[in-house]
């Protein structure tokens, strides 16, 4: 019983601390979705042996999942 209390309290604490930031994060992901046209970025990934790699890596940083 004691363990279950510890676990629940810890989970609740983490949820409290993180949820404002999670909501901020997923809304930012939504913002990227509507403001960035993925198709235009893909055009940058076609050519350039090294350039395309840097662009692709940078592009992937903010994208969720």
């Amino acid at each position: 019983m004691n363990d279950i209390t510890t676990i629940s309290i810890e989970m609740w604490r983490i949820l409290l601390d993180s949820s404002p930031y999670i909501i901020l994060g997923i809304l930012a992901a939504g913002g990227i979705k509507i403001f960035v046209n993925q198709q235009i970025i893909v055009r940058h990934l076609r050519y350039g042996r090294y350039r395309s790699v840097f662009k692709a890596a940078l592009f992937g940083i903010p994208l969720p999942l």
């Binding site: 609740w12 409290l16 999670i22 997923i26 809304l27 509507i34 990934l45 076609r46 395309s52 940078l58």
Partner: protein
Amino acid sequence: MLPAAASFKRQGANRGALSAFLVTTPESGVDSIAITYALLDPIMTVMRPLAALVTGVTAGLVENRLHDPDAAGRQPSPLPLASAAPLPAAGTNLPAATEPSPASRSLRRLGEGIRYALVDVWGDIVVWFCAGLLLAGLITAYLPEDFSNLVLGGGLVSMLAMLAVGMPIYICATASTPIAAALLLKGASPGAVLVFLLAGPATNMTSLSVLVQVLGKMGTLRYLLVVAIVSVLFGLGLDKLYPLLGIEPRAVIGEARELVPVWLKIGSATFLIILTAWHLYRFVRHRRSERPAGTAVCGFPQSAEGADRHRATHHRSSSETCHDECCRQA
């Protein structure tokens, strides 16, 4: 992530760019950056995307060194450029008056963005996040502190131990953060935790088959090696960085919590719980009413309600296996 990579490949992105994208997208995102700031500390918040960037660029450069996309001949893009962006059809004689006003259009787009955030992004994360939360609770209650001090306290062995845990399992970047916080509080070194945060999302058993299809067998092997080596190097480096800056990692963990007022925390936690309950309800209803048990007739059209809205496109597939198969073939 994987459907996006498949569509990039179809549109002619080269292998190096694909590898880079396949590393950085799962390892870092705006959502995981935000939660890292909340639960860990500013150093980790910077190191995670930075390490992801270096890993991705390394993987991509290795790939393109071996297979020069330019030398292979500039193949004409499989799709004509014009089709890459949806253009308004020329010659449509719609009177200007029927076009939605800019204000209502941007309102609709705002709605789309919020819907995407709450339904698609959170829908993709929610199961992993609940699992991560539970695991963090279990670690807090049961992981003996001397064990984590001894085994995960730093050094190459700790990094390799985290690699062995992180590489086969899948946990998304956001959901791995509570686990990382719990491990840190139990005395794991920041470097070892960083290895887990990088290797956990970047590689797993089920994504292997997709990686093999996109990068080939040797390409996948190189991808895994680069992820392993760069993660360990960053882990070892990070363990040197904290003492160099004179920071005790355990003392600064989760300091960002003090920036947020309590009412906002309780409000957003309640909102997330309600949203999660809605996702659960939706999932259960979907399962019960729409999916024929155990059949995977790929591409067989289901009723309109059976269509999955995922990342703003409609997929009609009869099971998850079939959905994944379609994405892979696409």
